[in-house]
């Protein structure tokens, strides 16, 4: 009898529950979900962020492709350019061909690089008689990124070969039939040159030999004219 009484008492005390305890239990149950749900929620946010990043980058690629397809992409008349094959409606390659002074090429290619993300696939450079370069370049179009490293696609370094006029003296010019030649003095060396000659010590090409002057072109495309001292002083 003692035991049954005890059990009965125990049972009622087990069933006894107060309002605050109900609230507590409900709160505890809600709390138990919190870590699971909050982690899932963060996961959702992370995934959505990754997705939007990716779709933003894809949109950038497409916008770049559309921009490069436009006729007025580069306002330049000495070069022709076009986009190549398309995958997923988006251009994959871009090519340009033209003939200009290396300075002009530099300006153009810098502009191209500023506007679009390109990677050089093949390049063909041909130095022409009039000191221009004929270039034919093919690029892979890449995903536009904010901090791209600048790539130099030119055939020569523009900074090389600074011309110091004081070192040079035009000594004489001579014309034999069609070909004109000139005697130049550079520091202690004397050079007989004609049109198209290469002066290795100075890195200069002879562009033109005229009656009273010689025009030289540096590797960077700078043009310099040498005249007889007397005529220069007269001017």
């Amino acid at each position: 009898m003692f035991l049954s009484q005890f059990l009965k008492a125990n049972r009622t005390s087990l069933l006894a529950i107060s309002g605050s305890r109900v609230c507590l239990l409900i709160f505890v149950q809600a709390l138990a979900w919190y870590p699971v749900l909050s982690e899932k929620y963060l996961d959702v946010e992370r995934q959505i962020k990754r997705k939007t990043q990716l779709s933003a980058s894809w949109q950038k690629i497409q916008a770049q492709s559309r921009m490069m397809e436009e006729k007025g992409f580069l306002q330049v008349d000495w070069a022709t350019y076009s986009v190549g094959d398309k995958v997923q409606g988006t251009a994959t390659t871009w090519q340009i061909e033209g003939r200009a002074l290396i300075k002009e090429w530099q300006v153009l290619l810098e502009k191209v690089q500023e506007k679009s993300a390109l990677k050089l696939v093949s390049a063909s450079w041909e130095s022409e008689q009039d000191s221009t370069w004929h270039g034919q370049l093919l690029f892979d179009i890449q995903e536009p990124k904010r901090n791209r490293a600048y790539e130099n696609w030119l055939p020569a370094n523009l900074k090389a070969g600074r011309f110091v006029e004081e070192d040079w003296t035009l000594v004489s010019t001579m014309r034999v039939g069609e070909s004109a030649s000139a005697l130049l003095k550079h520091k202690d060396n004397q050079h007989w040159v004609r049109q198209g000659s290469w002066l290795p010590t100075a890195g200069l090409i002879v562009d033109l030999v005229a009656f009273d002057r010689v025009t030289l072109i540096s590797k960077g495309g700078d043009q310099v004219a040498l005249q007889f001292r007397e005529s220069r002083e007269k001017q």
Partner: protein, 328 residues
């Protein structure tokens, strides 16, 4: 959908005990039931119960047993208006004990309260011994049917629309339950807890599933985007060979002249004009820097300058054609 389970009604009379549907019972109760003075003893009750056919009982699991008032001990009392309602059950118990001459633990009772005109309370107490109620219920309890014993006058005092099982259980004969309110309250709390728990878990789980769905959706979206982007980028080859050779051209000293350059895939061809003495160290430097590249060199002296440079006889100018291959 009917939430409330129906119950049957068993009606005791002096001659028989009959089971009715809840709807038809009111027609069956006539005044003769109440007016007769017959009170059965145990054996007579047993005989009355024999008349009951329980076949219909299989349908319902709950039965309200109506018995004539005079089968119980009924007493009327008038209480002071100030009596608190919570004390009414206790008062009824004491009257029931008084009228049945039995111990409080073994008495079953029910009461009806009515307000008199002078605001006093009239308490009608119906009481019987536990034994008697057991016997009344015995044919039903043996079939595992739960039953409530209600005096006919009490049944009649309840509006037909309120005769639900739970409402009737308040009017049925029962032993004194001092903790009834408390337990009722507890039941409500447990129910509340259960409902809230279920709703919390189902809401949380639903939210969890929707988040999962969201993750799945963005993953598949991302996957398809990635596939498109990869398809677009698949033509690209990570090859810097052309650019590397072009860099060599840019780094040429001032004294070397580049005539032409053609670089594609794994091959670059170019032509240089330079002094003979300069060429060997230049090539050696390049080969040292790129040991994996293959170099093909063909040289030719520039003849044109011979005539023109008598002052530079020591300096031979070379035209050099070089092909470079990137080894796999």
């Amino acid at each position: 959908m009917k939430l409330v389970k129906p119950y049957s009604v068993a009606l005791y009379s002096a001659e028989q005990c009959t089971l009715y549907n809840r709807n038809e019972i009111d027609k069956r109760i006539d005044t003769s039931l109440q007016s007769s003075d017959f009170i059965p003893d145990s054996s007579q009750l047993f005989a009355i119960q024999k008349t009951l056919s329980l076949s219909e009982c299989k349908v319902t699991s709950r039965v309200v047993i109506l018995i004539p008032d005079h089968w119980l001990s009924v007493s009327n009392h008038v209480l002071d208006p100030l009596t608190p309602p919570s004390l009414l059950p206790l008062a009824a118990l004491s009257y029931a004990v008084e009228s049945t001459f039995s111990a409080p633990e073994t008495v079953l009772f029910s009461f009806r309260k009515a307000l008199l005109e002078d605001k006093r309370i009239q308490l009608t107490v119906f009481a019987c011994s536990e034994e008697w109620s057991k016997q009344l219920c015995s044919p039903f309890q043996s079939k595992n049917v739960s039953c409530l014993i209600v005096p006919i006058s009490l049944w009649q005092s309840i509006k037909p629309s309120l005769r639900s099982w739970t409402a009737l259980s308040k009017y049925a004969l029962s032993s004194y339950q001092p903790d009834y309110k408390k337990r009722q309250n507890m039941k409500r709390l447990w129910l509340c807890l259960w409902l809230f728990s279920v709703s919390i878990h189902s809401i949380a789980y639903g939210y969890f599933l929707s988040l999962e769905q969201c993750i799945h959706q963005s993953l598949t979206d991302r996957q398809s985007l990635l596939e498109r982007q990869l398809a677009w980028a698949s033509h690209q080859e990570p090859n810097d060979f052309v650019l590397s050779t072009l860099r060599l051209m840019q780094a040429l000293p001032t004294s070397v002249r580049l005539v032409s350059f053609d670089g594609q895939n794994q091959q670059a061809d170019f032509q240089l004009t330079l002094m003979q003495e300069e060429f060997e160290p230049l090539l050696a430097r390049w080969q040292q820097r790129f040991p994996n590249w293959r170099w093909q060199v063909s040289e030719s002296f520039q003849t044109s300058n011979d005539l023109l440079s008598p002052f530079e006889s020591s300096k031979e100018v070379l035209d050099v054609f070089i092909s470079v291959f990137e080894s796999e």
